[in-house]
Amino acid sequence: MSLFIQRMFDGLAEGSIYALLALALVVIFRSTGQLNFAQGEIGTLCAFFASTFTLSGLPVWVAILLAMAIGFLIAAFVERVVVRPIEDRNPGAVIVALIGVFLAVNQLSAMFWGVDARSLPSLFPTNADSFFRIGDAAIRWERVGIIGVLAVVVVLLFLLFNRTKIGLAMRAVANNQESSNLVGIRVGNILILGWGLAGAIGALAAVMLAPSAGLTGTLMLGPFLYASVAAVLGGLDSPVGAVVGGLLIGLLKAFLIGYVDFLSDMLFPVMLVVLLSVLLFRPAGLFGTEKVERV
């Protein structure tokens, strides 16, 4: 039982990372209908920046905030310079361009920081004795901290979307760009803001993951795949779905590794099966809206 609880917290912490990344994907998908393939890589680049900042003596939380700001700028830049000019002319080519961003950003980090693993200190205590007990199960504070970060982000996003004017404008743009334009919303600025927000969330996910997973250029490749499966599972247009999907995928992964021995090396095939069955049986995902196409 104690092992079960421990694994559950492992899964929830891992799932929180996926949920953050999935949230970032969903925020962008809702506003532009694009899946940002470069999301994970932008996060990795920001984590490298954060590691450089901490090396130069800044406190961890300042480094993380700076990294999030850089993530915001990079993603906003990508929207304005790469995505928008193509989207107007050739919507199909946007994914190709985003894959180009993926490759360029990934290799940029290899170019500047090399291929050896870097260290990034954690925001939370990671000593050998920094855990608490539920019954017999030892729960590390780091895991609880990551889950807490997800909770804070979710609350902040909820407040932003539902309690502020900018959030209202963002929802309006997600719903109907042309009408939003007609009522005086500056759609372009809102799109940039949405992408920037997603970039910051992605950077946060990367700096949360880096201390335990080791900071290399491939840091976010796997998590990005898990997160995109999570986003599809939850429904690509549903923030709630992203969080639930991310946590579910994290739990699934932890329990597969823990309890199903013969599948512990076969996580990606399992993810493929999950993805294909979602697409077959419930293409809109658990919380997504069924798409009704008007001809």
């Binding site: 199909g92 080519a93 180009g100 490759l103 950003v105 290799q107 990606f268 294909l276």
Partner: protein
């Protein structure tokens, strides 16, 4: 056969799509320019080989230190690169079929490449029992190629069917996960007997046959010296297969299935109304494209003689590589994959040699910084020039915006400079090739949507006059009464 045709704002450009509607006349155009007469058939193909493939091959051989064409003086690494280029071109043909012609973006074709390579080596090493074929399970290398194609076709159909029922990003996403899934399966320890697990398969290299064919005593020798001339043989084999596949694809594109594929890409709804079964067409296209890429993979495995799941071309970056080659060469262009693949191999080799050599980093970074400064200055100057009236009159806070743009660009420049000079503590230029290809992908997506070959064709079409067939008399006569046939 030049065929630029306009649909509203977007322009589609396809091989062999418009011949039915247009007729190319020879002679002199109205402006007095000579007009080419494209012919279809053997001569036409021979012409294309002469025009494109041979000069390209010759250029590459010269660049990579191949001095003679026959006999000695071949640079083995140069030959290997050329063989790689043709093999990758075959794989890119597959991507082109599903992404270029059918319009379904796949970022997972390196999985088929891996499956093909493994199939070739598993069969030639006799790692699975095949009761009716092969000499005690050990297959002749040549016969593994069709098996790889068939296997990839099946896998493609199974994976494609659920994903292709939906549009756009879902297939891209599924194929992305598919690559990693295939790699995990190939590494899986329970299948170690067949796939070799994490260490992969270390086999012998393919030994080129002594005779091209040996038919009832009629023998045509290849003149190759066994395994030493492997690269040379792989060039012949892969170029022959590449040309065959190009011929096949151009045939498919003229067939009912091919037209259905193009129709699916251009307008799914219209295609469905016209009686195209979308999921069948997409699945068949995906399976076929997988099969073609699998052929490339089999050749790759046979040439290399050893495979493991961590070969770069088998993973996510391999898939992106194939996409880069397709986009650079030109989507939906039959000659695009060859041009793109040769370009890729060529540039990749240069970038790799720069990355490996003990480069003068300061010089590299200084040059990069200078380029960045110039780019930023041009951007700022352009912005200011475009909005100079707004700025002067302070319309809609034009002056503030200009200040914002200038300050933003300058801070970006400072950040880039800090990054370039401060962070690179003796790092290698490892990612140079990747950065180049990533930026190329972005630039081509925006500025060169038809790729190198497509752009060349547009350029050429200035000199070739296409005269549309007049609407035929009989069609007008058959129109039901009361319907006005619009005359031109």
């Amino acid at each position: 056969m030049s065929d630029v045709h306009h649909e509203g704002d977007s322009v589609t450009l396809d091989d062999g799509e418009v011949e039915m509607a247009t007729e190319v006349v020879s002679g002199k155009s109205a402006g007095g320019l000579p007009v080419f007469t494209p012919q279809h058939g053997a001569l036409h193909w021979l012409g294309r080989v002469l025009v494109f493939a041979l000069p390209l091959a010759y250029l590459l051989m010269r660049v990579f230190g191949v001095t003679g064409i026959v006999g000695g003086g071949w640079s083995n690494s140069g030959l290997g690169l050329l063989a790689d280029a043709f093999i990758i071109a075959i794989a890119v043909m597959g991507v082109n079929l599903i992404t270029g012609y059918t319009g379904q973006l796949s970022i997972g074709h390196s999985a088929f490449f891996a499956i093909g390579a493994y199939t070739g080596l598993v069969l030639t090493q006799g790692r699975v029992s095949t009761p009716f074929f092969g000499d005690e399970n050990v297959w002749d290398p040549g016969w593994t190629i069709p098996v790889a194609a068939a296997l990839c076709f099946l896998v493609g159909c199974v994976v494609g069917l659920p994903a292709l029922r939906l549009k756009g990003i879902y297939l891209a996403l599924t194929t992305l996960v598919f690559v990693e899934a295939v790699r995990s399966i190939l590494k899986y320890e329970k299948f170690e007997d067949v796939t070799g697990g994490a260490t992969g398969i270390k086999g012998d290299k393919y030994t080129p046959p002594e005779y091209v064919f040996d038919f009832f005593g009629i023998k045509l020798p290849t003149g190759l010296d066994g395994r030493a001339d492997l690269n040379q043989w792989m060039i012949y084999l892969s170029l022959a297969l590449l040309l065959f596949i190009m011929l096949m694809v151009s045939g498919i594109m003229r067939s009912r299935i091919g037209r259905a594929m193009v129709a699916t890409r251009d307008n799914e709804l219209a295609a469905e109304v016209m009686g195209v079964n979308l999921s069948v067409i997409k699945t068949v296209a995906f399976g076929l494209s997988g099969a073609i890429t699998g052929i490339g993979g089999a050749l790759f495995g046979l040439k290399l003689g050893l495979v493991d799941a961590d070969v770069p071309l088998f993973g996510l970056f391999g898939a992106i590589t194939l996409l880069v080659a397709m986009v650079v060469g030109g989507a939906a262009q039959n000659w695009g994959p060859m041009v793109g693949a040769v370009f890729y191999v060529f540039v990749n080799e240069i970038a790799r040699s720069i990355g490996e050599a003990p480069a003068d980093y300061e010089a590299v970074f200084t040059i990069t910084l200078i380029v960045l400064v110039v780019v930023v200055m041009v951007v700022v100057a352009r912005y200011v020039m475009q909005h100079r009236n707004d700025i002067r009159a302070n319309v809609s806070n034009g002056a503030w915006k200009a200040v914002l743009v200038v300050v933003g660009s300058m801070s970006a420049l400072v950040a880039a400079g800090v990054m370039l000079l401060g962070i690179s503590d003796g790092g290698k230029l490892d990612g140079l090739g990747g950065v180049i290809f990533g930026v190329l992908l972005i630039l081509f997506a925006r500025f060169v949507p038809f790729g190198a070959v497509g752009t060349f064709r547009i350029f050429r079409s200035r000199f070739v006059q296409i005269i549309p067939k007049p609407p035929s008399e009989s069609r007008a006569a058959k129109a039901p009464e009361g319907v006005q046939v619009q005359g031109r």
